[in-house]
Amino acid sequence: MSNLPEVVNYLENTFQREIKALHIQDESAGYFAGFPAGLNSLLKQVLHRQGIQSLYSHQREAFEAISRGEDAVVVSRTASGKTLSFLLPILNEYMSATAPFGVLLLYPTKALSRDQEGTLGSLLRAAMANQKLGTFDGDTPREERRNIQRTADFVITNPDMLHSGILPNHNRSWKSFLARLRYIVVDEVHTYRGAFGSHVSNVFRRLVRTCEIHGSRPVFICSSATVGNPAEHVEALFHRPFRVIDQDGAPSPRRDVYFVNPPLMQSHGLTPYRKGPTSITIPLIRAASRQNVRTICFCRARQEVERLYRAVVDGHPELTTKVQPYRGGLLPNERRKLERAMFEGSLNTIITTNALELGIDIGDLDFCILTGHPGSVASFWQQAGRVGRKGKRAVVVFVARDTPIDQYLVNHPEFITSAPIEEAWLSADNPYIMLQHIPCAAHEHPLRAAEPAFQGQAYAMAVEVLTGDKTLVPYHDWYRYALADYPARGVNLRGMTDYNVEIYCDSTVIGEIDPIGARGSLYKDAIYQHLGQRYMSMDLDLDKKLCRVEKVNVDYFTEAVWENRIEMTGIEEEKSLRQAEIRFGYVHVNKQPKLYKKIRDRSYENIGYGPITLPAFEYDTTGFSLLPPPHWKSAVDAIDKRYMAAALYGMRYLLRHSAPSLCMADINDIETDVALKTESNAHQPAHGMQDIPASSIESWKSALYLYDAHEGGVGYAEKIFDKIEEALGLCRRIIDECECGTGCPSCVPPLPPGVEGEELEDLLIESNAAVACTHSLLLALLEGRVVSPEVRLLSRPRQQTGITSEVDEETAKLSERLKRASHILKDKRERLH
C-alpha cells in the first residue's frame, strides 16, 4: 500500500520555506474510440483478454493512417500505449497478408530493445508470429543471428547494429528480409537529434537506398515523446513528409510538480552559499522508501547517482534492500536484475541517470525526484512522466542545484510548465558526418551521381571530395568504394570514440566506460563508485583498453580538473553585435586532464590533490569566439585591467550553463573557454593560425569561446551563434533575477571555474567583480550602453562580401567544410590503422 500522502505531508512540512512553487497538472480523462471495423477478430479477443475494451483516440488515428500506408509519427507521452498504436495495424495487416512481410523495429538502446521484446511478444503470440520475432544486436549469439536472418519477420535492433551489422551485409544475409520489408518502426524518435540524430539520419538514407536496391519501399512509423517540432524533426530525419498524430488520447493522472530550492546559507566567507540538492533529496528518498512509495530519483551524472546512493544508505543500512542505483556503465545483467527487482516490487526506490528516461518498463511509479534540470524541457517532462497511474495522484519534486539554469527554472516554473518545448534539430548534411556515411553507402552498393536518398548539393560535392582523395573511383556510371577496409567499422554513431575501456577488479569486469570518460574519471588514484562500493583506479591502460581497480574504503571522491587549450584555425562567418566581434569557424581543442581534487563526502571540503599523467585528447571542431566591444573594453580597462577578464570568465560560466537549453543540447555537448591575451603577445600568431588573415591577428585578443564538444563540429555552437542575442538575453535575465546580489553559482560565482592568475583571483574573491563585470559586458552587448567615440577608430571595418551571390557563398562554405571534415577524417583513419 502506497503512502504517498504521508510523503507529501512530510515534504510540505519539512521544506515549507524551500518550496518555491507548486504546479498542478490536472487529470485528464482521455479520449477513447472504438475498435476499427477492419480489426482482426483474433486480435480483438486478445485485447479483450488484456482488459482493453476500446482504443485511445491517437491509437485509432494511427491505425487508420498506417492502414492507409502513410508514413506516420505518433507523438504522445510515456505510458500512453504507443506500442499498441503502431503494432496493432501492422499485425492486422500481417495476419491477412498472403505472404509474410518484414517489419524492422528500431530502439535507440540495447536495454530498451530487450525490454520491448517482452512487450511485443505477447501481442505477437496472438498473431501466431512470436516465433518470427528476434532481437538482433551486439548481444545476440552467433547461431541465433543466422536464425533471425533466415526466419524472422519482426526484427528488433538499434541504429548502431543497422549501421555496422545489417546494412554492410545487405547483399548476403539480409537480402530476403530487406526485399520483403514493409514497415520500419522507429521508437523514441526524439532521441535521434543533434550529432547522434544526424548520424542516424544518414543511416536511414542508406537503409532506404538498400531497400530500393532490393525492390522494397517500406513505410516509416515513428513514435516520439513531445518535442516542439515533431513534423519538422522526423522530416529532417527521414527526408520525407510525415503524418503527425499528436492528439494524445491517453488519460493522464493528476501530477503535482513541486519546485524546491535549497536555502542560501551564510558561511564563514564573504559570500553566501546555497546548500546542495542532497539536503532535500536524501531525507525525501529516505522518507519515501520507508513509506514504501515507489520512487524514482533522476540525477545528472553516473557518479552522482553512486554518491547519492551512498549518502542515502549511510547510517541507514536497512534501506540498502529497498534503494538501489541504476545507471549506464553497469553490466547488462546487473541492469536487468535491477529492472526486474523494481518491477516486482522488492525494490521501491531507484536512483538513476537519464538511462531510465526512455520507456524501460519498471512498473508503475508514484513519486519522482529530479535533482537538477535534466537539460531540456522535453527531458524534464519525459522524466516527470515516468510517474503516475490511472486515477491516482503522482508527485514530482524538482530540486534545483546551484547553477544558473536551475535557479532560473525554480524561480520561473512557467519556463517548464507553459513555455514551448524545445525543437529537436539535426543536420543530416553536416559535412563531417555525411563524409563518414557516403563511403559506407558506396561500400554497400556503388553510388550514382545523383542518389534520391541523398538529396541536395552537399551530396554531389561530398562525392567530389571523396573522389579527389581516391576513396571513391568512377566505375561505369557509378562511383565504387576503392579502399579495402570496412568503412562502417570506423564510424561511431554515438561519439568520437568507438571502443570502451573495461573496468576490472580481481579479474572480474565490473563496468565499462568510453576512453574520454576514462581520462576524466579513471586516472591513477581516482575513486570509481560502483553499486555503492568505492574502488580506486590502480592502472589505466588506454592502449589495452583496460583499467584495474581495487576496493577501497575512503570518505572522499575525486574530481578531475581539465585544462583546455583552444585555437581558432579558420573563420567562416563573422558578425558584429553592437561592435563586439563574433566569429564562427574552426577550432582546435587540446583537452588535458591536469590534476585531480579529493573531495570529502558531505562537507565537500577539498582535502588534497594529485597530478594526472595522461596524454591530452585533441580534436577539431567548430565554434565561435566573442570579442568584447572595443569601446566597452577600453572603458573598463581604464578603471581596472582585470575587469575584462572577470567579465569573460563570468560570461563563460553563464553561457556554458544556459546556452544548451536553446538548442536541446546537453551541457556536455558544448564547451566554453576564455583565452586571455595580453597586448604584447597578441601580435604573435599562435600555432595553427595561418588561416586567419594577417589583418585580423591584431584584433585577436582576449576572447570568449564556445564550441561543440564533438569532433568535426555538429552544429550546436552554430545554432547558438545564430541565436546569440537570445542567449545573451537569457544570461542577463538570470543575473538580474538572482537574489544574491554579490554573485553565486546560480548566476555567476564570485570565482568562476577556470580562472588563473593570482591578481585576478584576488580581485574576484574579494569582490563581486565577476557578476558586476559580466553584467556590464552583457549591457554593452545587448544595448550598446557604453559608447565612446574614440573606440570606434580601433574597430576593424567589416569585410564586404556584398557582390558575391548568396548561393556562391553557401557553396564555398560547404566546400570548405567538406574539405575540413575530410581532412579530420583522414587523420582519424591514420590514427586507427
Partner: protein, 319 residues
C-alpha cells in the same frame, strides 16, 4: 550446337528432350518451323516456341547475358562451343580463406593475351579489362572467384556473363577439382609449377610481401596464369570431346601436354602486363623448356587443395 540446347525450354525435361532428339526435332530452327510432335499439346508447344524465339533473338544479337542465364547448366558447354573464340578465362589467388583475406593476383587469358594483375600494382586495372570481356570462364568462380571480385572492388555484379567450368565438367562426369581433371585429361603443367596449389599460392604471396621475394611473386603469377591456360585447354577438350570442331585451335595442340611457354610465346612477352615480370625485362620471363613431363600429379598437393576447397565452402558463406 547451341541451338540444340533444349532443357531450359518450358515444359521440357530430360524425357521430352530425348523424345525430341529421337524425333529429329532437337534444333531451335526446327522447333520454330515444324508442327508439334506427338504427346505435346498446342499450349505447351506455343510456350516452347515463344521461348525459342527469344533465344534465337538473343543468339542473333549475341546476347550472352541472356543465353548464360537462360540455358540450363547441363548445356553450358554448348555456349562455350558456340562462343569459344570470345571466351576469356580467369583465376584469382587470395591471401588466405579468412574473411579478411584479400585478392593477391588475378590472371586473365583474354583474346590470346595473358593479362596478370598484382595487388599493390595494378589490381584495379582488372575492372577495365573486365569491361572488354564478352564471356568470362572460371573454375569454381560462381562461389569463389566472382563473389571475391565483386566484394573486393565493391561492385554489385561483374559486367559480363560468367560460366563456371566446374559445373560444365561435372556434367561430363569430371569432378574432383581442377588439378584432378587436368590429370585425367593428361594435361601437364611445367615441372616447376607441379607442386604449387592454392595453399602454396598463399605462402608465395607472403614471401613476396614480407620478404620481397621476386621469384615467389613470379611463381605465383605463373601459377595463376597456368590455371587460366589450363581452363582454356579443358574447355577446348570438352567441346571437341562432344563432337564439335572448333573453328580454330590456334595455340593448342591436342597431342602435346600442357605447355605454358607455348602460350606465353604466342601472346608475346608483353602479354605479361605485370610490371614485375616480363615487361621490365623480357629476358627475365620464366625460362622453362617445353619439357614433356610425364610426372603424375602430386597427390599430396592435390589433397591439400581439396581440403582448402572444402574449408572454403565452410567458411565463405558465413562471413
Amino acid at each position: 550446337m547451341i541451338r540444340q540446347s533444349l532443357l531450359h525450354l518450358p515444359g521440357i525435361g530430360p524425357k521430352r528432350a530425348i523424345a525430341l532428339q529421337q524425333a529429329g526435332m532437337d534444333d531451335w530452327r526446327l522447333i520454330l518451323t515444324q508442327p508439334p510432335p506427338a504427346k505435346m499439346g498446342a499450349g505447351t508447344w506455343a510456350r516452347v516456341m515463344t521461348a525459342v524465339e527469344r533465344c534465337e533473338q538473343a543468339l542473333a544479337f549475341n546476347d550472352l547475358h541472356f543465353l548464360v542465364k537462360t540455358i540450363a547448366k547441363r548445356d553450358h558447354w554448348r555456349i562455350l562451343a558456340e562462343y569459344f573464340d570470345q571466351a576469356s578465362y580467369f583465376d584469382i589467388e587470395t591471401s588466405g580463406l579468412d574473411y579478411d583475406s584479400y585478392i593477391t593476383t588475378i590472371a586473365c587469358y583474354h583474346k590470346g593475351n595473358l593479362h596478370t594483375f598484382v595487388r599493390g600494382r595494378n589490381l584495379d586495372d582488372f575492372l577495365d579489362l573486365l569491361d572488354e570481356v564478352k564471356l568470362l570462364v572460371s573454375f569454381c568462380g560462381s562461389t569463389f572467384d566472382v563473389p571475391r571480385i565483386e566484394s573486393a572492388f565493391h561492385i554489385p555484379r561483374i559486367p559480363c556473363p560468367h560460366i563456371d567450368l566446374r559445373w560444365v565438367c561435372y556434367y561430363e562426369q569430371l569432378a574432383g577439382g581442377l588439378k584432378l581433371i587436368e590429370e585425367r585429361m593428361s594435361i601437364h603443367r611445367p615441372p616447376d609449377l607441379q607442386g604449387v596449389d592454392g595453399h602454396e599460392a598463399v605462402l608465395l604471396w607472403h614471401l613476396w610481401e614480407n620478404q620481397g621475394d621476386r621469384r615467389a611473386l613470379e611463381t605465383l603469377v605463373r601459377y595463376c596464369s597456368a590455371d587460366t591456360i589450363s581452363l582454356k585447354l579443358i574447355t577446348a577438350r570438352l567441346v571437341t570431346g562432344n563432337g564439335c570442331s572448333l573453328p580454330e585451335m590456334p595455340d593448342i595442340d591436342k597431342e602435346l601436354p600442357f605447355n605454358s611457354i607455348a602460350m606465353v610465346s604466342q601472346a608475346g612477352p608483353e602479354a605479361f602486363q605485370n610490371p614485375v615480370m616480363g615487361a621490365a625485362n623480357p629476358g627475365d620471363a620464366p625460362d622453362h623448356e617445353s619439357e614433356q613431363s610425364g610426372e603424375s600429379f602430386d597427390s599430396k598437393a592435390f589433397r591439400r587443395l581439396q581440403q582448402s576447397r572444402h574449408q572454403r565452402r565452410e567458411t565463405y558463406p558465413g562471413f
